[in-house]
C-alpha cells in the first residue's frame, strides 16, 4: 500500500514539475468587461487547451485609456505585458513607439508561422497596417457604425418601416414626420466624432486629414472644415435647433436612448445590437448609414472602430513564438466565426466571413452581415482606409467639444470646424515634435 502511494506521489510530482517547466506565460492586458470579457477569456482558455507550451493569461485592466496608461507605466518600469489591447485612436501613439512595440508581420514571419496578409479583409487590416501594407497590430475587435431604426415608431408616424431612409435628405424628412406625430426624439447618435466626422468623411470619400489621413506621415493636417463637412454639421445643428436631433453625449449614451424607445432613429456601433436586442421592446431594423446623394463617389465604405492587439517589445524570442502561435490561432476561421457571432464584432478574414455565411447565421441575423457589407462596399481609397493621427484621444475630444458647441447653438458650423482644425493641428504638431 505504502509503496503504491509513494509511487503515485512520485509520478504525480514528476508529471507536475514536467508540466510546469515547459509552460511560457503570455501576458495579455485587455479592456473587455462583462459578457465581452467572458468571450475573450474563452479564447485564451481554448488556445491554452490546444497546446502545452504556452499559456495566455488575460487580465482586465480597466477602460482603454486606463489600461494604456498602466501599460505605459509598466513599460517604463520594465514589466510590460506581451500583448496589449489598444483602442483605434491610440494607433498612432503605439506605432510611433518603435522600441516599445513589434509589428505583427515581423513576429509572424520571424516565428515562421503561416501568415497570409491577403487573407484578411483590407478595410479591417488597412487601419492597422503601415503605408507599405505591413500589419502592425492584430485587428482583434472591430466594429463599424450602423443606422438603426425603430419600426414601430415609423409605423405610428405614417412612415413605411420597410423603407429606411437612405440619404440624409430622407432622414430629415422622416424626422420631421416623426416630430409631427408627437415623437420627442426623431434622431440621436452615439460616438458623434466617429460617426459624423470620421466615418462621414470615409463614406463620402473625402479626406479627414492630409497625407492619406495621416498614414503618410506625422506632418499631416486636419481637413474636416471642408464645405461638405460644414454643410453636414450645419444640417445637424439645424436639426438640433428644431428638435429633430437630440444630442446624447460623446460616447455610447445614444444606445440607451434608442433601446428605451425614446429615439426613433439612431446611429451607433454594431456592438450596440446586443443591448438593443435585450432591452428593446419594439421592432427594429439595422441599415447602412445615410449619405448625401449629391456627392460624387458616395457611398464609399465605412471605417472601423474598436481596438487591436499590439505586441510589446523587449521580450524573449521563445515568448514571441508563443505570441505568433496565438495570433495564428485567432486568425483561424472557426475561431473568428465564434468570436464574430458571439460578440457582434466583424470577422477579419474573408474565409471567416464566407464560413459564417455558409452556416446560415446571416439568414437569422442579417444585421451582422450588413456591417461587413458596409465595410467592403467598395475597395478602400486613400480617404477611406482609416485614419492615423497622433494623440488622437485629445484630437477627438477637441472635435467633440466643437461639435457640442454647434449642437447647443453656441457656435455656427464653420467657425466651430475651423477651430477644431486649428486646435487639432496644434495637437498633431506636438505629437510630431515629440516623436521626431
Amino acid at each position: 500500500m505504502k509503496i503504491k502511494t509513494l509511487a503515485v506521489a512520485l509520478a504525480s510530482i514528476g508529471l507536475y514539475s514536467g508540466g510546469a517547466q515547459a509552460q511560457t506565460e503570455i501576458q495579455w492586458w485587455h479592456s473587455m468587461g462583462g459578457a465581452l470579457g467572458e468571450a475573450l477569456n474563452e479564447l485564451a482558455t481554448n488556445f491554452n487547451a490546444t497546446q502545452k507550451e504556452y499559456k495566455v493569461v488575460a487580465t482586465f485592466k480597466g477602460s482603454y485609456p486606463e489600461s494604456m496608461t498602466a501599460a505605459i507605466a509598466a513599460f517604463r518600469a520594465g514589466n510590460a505585458p506581451h500583448l496589449l489591447q489598444v483602442f483605434e485612436v491610440g494607433t498612432a501613439t503605439m506605432m510611433a513607439a518603435k522600441g516599445a512595440i513589434v509589428p505583427v508581420a515581423k513576429v509572424m514571419t520571424d516565428a515562421k508561422e503561416k501568415f497570409e496578409p491577403r487573407a484578411y479583409l483590407p478595410t479591417v487590416t488597412g487601419y492597422y497596417s503601415d503605408s507599405k501594407g505591413n500589419m502592425l497590430s492584430f485587428p482583434f475587435n472591430s466594429s463599424t457604425v450602423m443606422f438603426y431604426l425603430n419600426k414601430d415608431a415609423f409605423k405610428k408616424a405614417g412612415l413605411d418601416p420597410e423603407k429606411p431612409p437612405k440619404t440624409w435628405k430622407e432622414v430629415v424628412a422622416a424626422a420631421e414626420k416623426l416630430k409631427a406625430s408627437g415623437h420627442a426624439c426623431p434622431y440621436t447618435t452615439s460616438w458623434p466624432s466617429w460617426m459624423h466626422i470620421e466615418n462621414f468623411s470615409a463614406w463620402h470619400n473625402v479626406p479627414i486629414g492630409t497625407k492619406e489621413n495621416g498614414f503618410g506621415g506625422f506632418d499631416t493636417q486636419f481637413s474636416i472644415n471642408s464645405p461638405l463637412h460644414v454643410r453636414h454639421i450645419s444640417m445637424l445643428g439645424d436639426m438640433s435647433k428644431k428638435g429633430l436631433f437630440v444630442y446624447a453625449g460623446r460616447t455610447n449614451q445614444g444606445d440607451a436612448k434608442f433601446s428605451s424607445g425614446e429615439c426613433a432613429m439612431f446611429s451607433g456601433s454594431t456592438g450596440a445590437q446586443a443591448g438593443i436586442r435585450k432591452a428593446g421592446k419594439f421592432e427594429w431594423s439595422i441599415n447602412f448609414i445615410p449619405y448625401h446623394d449629391d456627392v460624387k463617389g458616395a457611398p464609399q465604405n465605412s471605417i472601423i472602430g474598436g481596438a487591436s492587439v499590439w505586441i510589446m517589445g523587449g521580450k524573449k524570442p521563445d515568448e514571441y513564438k508563443g505570441v505568433a502561435k496565438f495570433m495564428a490561432y485567432l486568425s483561424q476561421s472557426d475561431v473568428q466565426m465564434g468570436w464574430h457571432t458571439k460578440t457582434g464584432y466583424v470577422p477579419i478574414t474573408q474565409a471567416a466571413y464566407d464560413m459564417t455565411k455558409k452556416s446560415g447565421f446571416y439568414d437569422k441575423d442579417p444585421g451582422a452581415e450588413l456591417a461587413v457589407k458596409q465595410l467592403t462596399n467598395k475597395a478602400p481609397t486613400a480617404n477611406s482606409k482609416g485614419l492615423r493621427f497622433g494623440n488622437f484621444v485629445q484630437g477627438r475630444t477637441v472635435i467633440e467639444e466643437e461639435l457640442e458647441n454647434v449642437f447647443s447653438g453656441k457656435k455656427e458650423a464653420k467657425p466651430a470646424l475651423d477651430d477644431a482644425v486649428k486646435r487639432g493641428n496644434e495637437i498633431l504638431r506636438q505629437f510630431e515634435a515629440a516623436n521626431k
Binding site: 513607439a97 522600441g99 516599445a100 446624447a248 494623440n391 484621444v393 467639444e401 457640442e404 447647443s408
Partner: protein, 293 residues
C-alpha cells in the same frame, strides 16, 4: 512653541520619524520632483525619446485657449461652490442656533452628507437630473425648462455645483454652528435690550464676529472646489459638454491618463502645485490670526 523638558537620545528620534519621512520622500517628494522634471521635457508616450525644452510646455499652456478657459471654469466653479455653500450653511446654522428643541436631531440629520464621497454625490445628483429619467428633470420639464445637461454647458455647471455644495453643507454648518455658539450671549442681549430686531442683530453683531470663521471656510471651500471635486466631475460630466466643466485638476488627469500627454500634464501639475502652495500659505497665515483673535 517649544517644550521645556525634553529627552536626549542619539538614535531614537531618527528611528521614530523614519517611517513618516521615508514614505514622504518616496511618495511625495520624489514624484513631485519628477513632475517638475518632466514638465520641462517633450516626450513620447513611452518615454523612448525625450528632449529638454525648458519652459516650452508652460508657454504652450498659456497660449492654449483651452487652458485659460479651464482657469475661468475653475474660478467660476469655486466661486459658486464656496458662496452658495457658505450662504446656505450659514442660514441653517443661524436657524439651528436659535431653536432649543430638536437642535441635536437637526445637527445629526444635517451632518451625514459629509460621509458621502464626492463621486457618489455626483452620481446621485446625476441620477436625479438625468435628462430622460431623472425625477428632478421631470419636474423641471413640467415647469417648461428644457433640461439637458449633456448638451447645455450652463446646466452641466449647475449640476456639478449642486452636487458639490450638497456635500459641503454639513462641513460648513458645523463650523458656523461652533462659531455662533462661541459668541457671548451678553453682546446679543445688550443689543436686544437696545431694541434691535433679530435681523439687525445678526448683520451688525453676529456676522462681523463670525468673519474669521467665514474667511476660513472660504479658503477651505476654495481648496475643496479646486481638488476634492475631481470625483464629482469624473463621475458625471467628465469635463463636458464643450469645456463647460473642465476644471484644472480634471484637465491634468485627462491629459495625463487619457491622452498620455505627459509633458503638458506635468506642466499643469506644476502650475497647480503653485496654486495650492499659495492657498495653503493664505490659510495658515490666516489661521494664525484666528488663533490670536
Amino acid at each position: 512653541m517649544e517644550k521645556r523638558v525634553v529627552f536626549r537620545s542619539a538614535w531614537l528620534p531618527y528611528a521614530l520619524v523614519a517611517p513618516q519621512i521615508v514614505i514622504t520622500i518616496l511618495f511625495f517628494f520624489w514624484p513631485a520632483i519628477q513632475a517638475v522634471w518632466y514638465s520641462f521635457q517633450l516626450q513620447d508616450a513611452f518615454g523612448l525619446k525625450s528632449q529638454f525644452v525648458g519652459l516650452q510646455n508652460f508657454a504652450a499652456l498659456f497660449k492654449d485657449g483651452n487652458y485659460l478657459e479651464s482657469f475661468k471654469v475653475t474660478a467660476l466653479f469655486s466661486v459658486l461652490v464656496a458662496f452658495s455653500g457658505i450662504a446656505i450653511s450659514l442660514l441653517l446654522a443661524a436657524m439651528a442656533d436659535r431653536v432649543l428643541r430638536g437642535a441635536m436631531a437637526y445637527k445629526t440629520l444635517l451632518i451625514w452628507p459629509y460621509a458621502v464621497a464626492p463621486a457618489i454625490a455626483g452620481v446621485l445628483w446625476a441620477f436625479l437630473f438625468a435628462p430622460s429619467i431623472g425625477i428632478v428633470s421631470y419636474v423641471l420639464k413640467g415647469w417648461g425648462v428644457e433640461w439637458n445637461w449633456i448638451l447645455k454647458g450652463d446646466q452641466a455647471m449647475v449640476l456639478v455645483v449642486i452636487a458639490s455644495v450638497w456635500k459641503q453643507i454639513s462641513y460648513n454648518f458645523l463650523f458656523f454652528l461652533a462659531g455662533l455658539q462661541s459668541i457671548p450671549r451678553s453682546l446679543i442681549e445688550a443689543a436686544a435690550i437696545d431694541g434691535a430686531s433679530p435681523f439687525r442683530r445678526f448683520w451688525t453683531i453676529v456676522f462681523p464676529l463670525l468673519s474669521p470663521t467665514t474667511f476660513f471656510l472660504l479658503v477651505v471651500n476654495c481648496v475643496y472646489a479646486f481638488f476634492d471635486t475631481f470625483g464629482v466631475i469624473d463621475a458625471t460630466t467628465q469635463g463636458g459638454p464643450g469645456q463647460a466643466t473642465n476644471i484644472l485638476v480634471y484637465k491634468v488627469y485627462h491629459d495625463g491618463v487619457k491622452a498620455a500627454d505627459l509633458g503638458s500634464s506635468n506642466a499643469q501639475s506644476v502650475i497647480l502645485m503653485i496654486i495650492v502652495i499659495a492657498l495653503t500659505v493664505v490659510q495658515f497665515r490666516f489661521v494664525e490670526k484666528k488663533v490670536q483673535y
